[in-house]
């Protein structure tokens, strides 16, 4: 098996490299790819949508239809993880670990034993793969998470003027919640950001995107033609495009953030939402 694989790979690789010698040089500014469509995008990004970042204009305006499906792909990943992994078991809990807060002692209570009360101030539940209680990690993460979220909002809002946009900002927001979940534990995160919130918010995010396009359809223009929003927003067509791009970026950010968190919940706890990483 190893030799068949090696021979196949070497033959394929040699063929590909041989045929790649016909391609344009690396860094060539006059290749067909660089001279046919892209100049139009670069020259018209300020004219059509008043957005300096041409990547955002192409992403959300010229090829906005593709991006809508891209966001749907993200949502599909979340749905698939939920569909495949989630199980709600109501059997009696296996051995659980508790920490006695005043003394720092760790207790292990076997199946069938008497568990402490849910909201007991003296005993807190910890994961099976536990680590000693660390003040440094908890408090550093507490400080950092706030800044990460602020940066995420900055990245989403400045997608027009600098590299950034909905996808990048959404991932940053999602990672701030995942950081909270890693530094504390999964149950605390679930109390603050329930799975139901993540699921509904993800769908709402993509609904904002396609809803914006659908509103344009209802106003009589083609689907996702943001110029149709100018009558609702009270601006001219160019600024309406700019605002339309911003609104779909917000939708994308919601969707990506919720799906990141949802996938993390399902993957880290293998669907049981009991104990995470």
């Amino acid at each position: 098996m190893k030799s068949i694989g090696l021979i196949t790979v070497i033959v394929c690789g040699a063929l590909l490299i041989y045929y790649a010698m016909d391609f344009p040089n690396f860094g060539d500014g006059t290749s067909p790819a660089n001279t046919y469509l892209s100049p139009h995008f670069l020259e018209n990004t300020m004219v059509d949508a008043h957005v300096p970042n041409s990547v955002t204009t192409i992403l959300a305006d010229y090829r906005g239809y593709d991006t809508m499906y891209e966001t749907t792909v993200v949502l599909t990943a979340g749905l698939a993880c939920f569909f495949l992994l989630r199980r709600r078991e109501s059997t009696s809990p296996p051995a659980r670990f508790y920490r006695h807060v005043p003394t720092g002692l760790t207790l292990r209570i076997e199946e069938g034993g008497k568990l402490p009360a849910e909201n007991s101030k003296v005993f807190t539940r910890i994961d099976s793969m536990w680590a000693p209680d660390s003040l440094i990690i908890k408090n550093t993460c507490r400080l950092v998470i706030a800044f990460v979220q602020l940066f995420a909002l900055y990245v989403v809002a400045h997608g027009h003027y600098s590299p950034g946009g909905g996808f990048q900002g959404g991932v940053l927001m999602g990672s701030s919640i995942i950081l909270f979940s890693i530094s504390n534990d999964l149950r605390r995160t679930l109390k603050r950001f329930k799975e139901k919130t993540a699921a509904v918010l993800g769908a709402v995010g993509v609904l904002i995107y396609s809803g914006t396009g659908f509103v344009c359809l209802l106003m009589g223009e083609h689907f996702l033609n943001y110029g149709a929003l100018s009558s609702i927003l009270g601006t001219d067509k160019v600024m309406a495009r700019s605002h339309g791009i911003f609104s779909v970026e917000i939708g994308v950010a919601f969707a990506v953030m919720s799906v990141m968190i949802w996938i993390y919940y399902n993957l880290s706890s293998a669907g049981k939402h009991d104990e995470g990483l």
Binding site: T8, G13, A20, F26, L42, I58, D66, T76
Partner: protein, 131 residues
């Protein structure tokens, strides 16, 4: 010989992407651990992303964000090509989604068979069918 060296020097990005792609393909075909196969798949997809992005580069030019306050016409030749970057945003997202689904399936397989080695799983299945 001279020609080959100059050709490689001018087009080395294609060689790099082919090597990465073949590493990923080799991992997917030959390795028997499911997680290693998934990593190989990720390398494979990343090589294609590298290929597209490398075709967008123009030597010495800057990122495709045009000046906000300027009244001169924009010269497209001063900026790199933005279109492959946009296409690859999509490809990255698709690659992450596929990774998520693959890991969920791998988790289900682990829960069921207790192992992630393909040889052990096949032996498990063969002994089940033999019963």
């Amino acid at each position: 010989m001279e020609q080959i060296v100059t050709a490689i020097g001018a087009k080395y990005n294609y060689i790099v992407y082919v090597i990465l792609m073949m590493i990923g393909l080799y991992a997917m075909i030959v390795k028997s651990n499911l997680v290693k196969k998934i990593i190989g798949m990720n390398i494979f997809q990343t090589s294609i992303i590298l290929f597209y992005v490398s075709t967008a580069y123009k030597t010495g030019k800057t990122i495709p964000i045009v000046p906000y306050q300027g009244h001169d016409a924009v010269h497209a030749a001063d900026y790199i090509n933005p279109l492959p970057h946009v296409l690859m945003l999509t490809a990255i997202v698709v690659s992450v989604a596929t990774l998520g689904v693959a890991l969920s399936l791998a988790m289900k397989i682990y829960r069921q068979y207790g192992t992630l080695e393909e040889d052990d799983i096949n032996e498990n299945l063969r002994s089940e069918e033999g019963k």
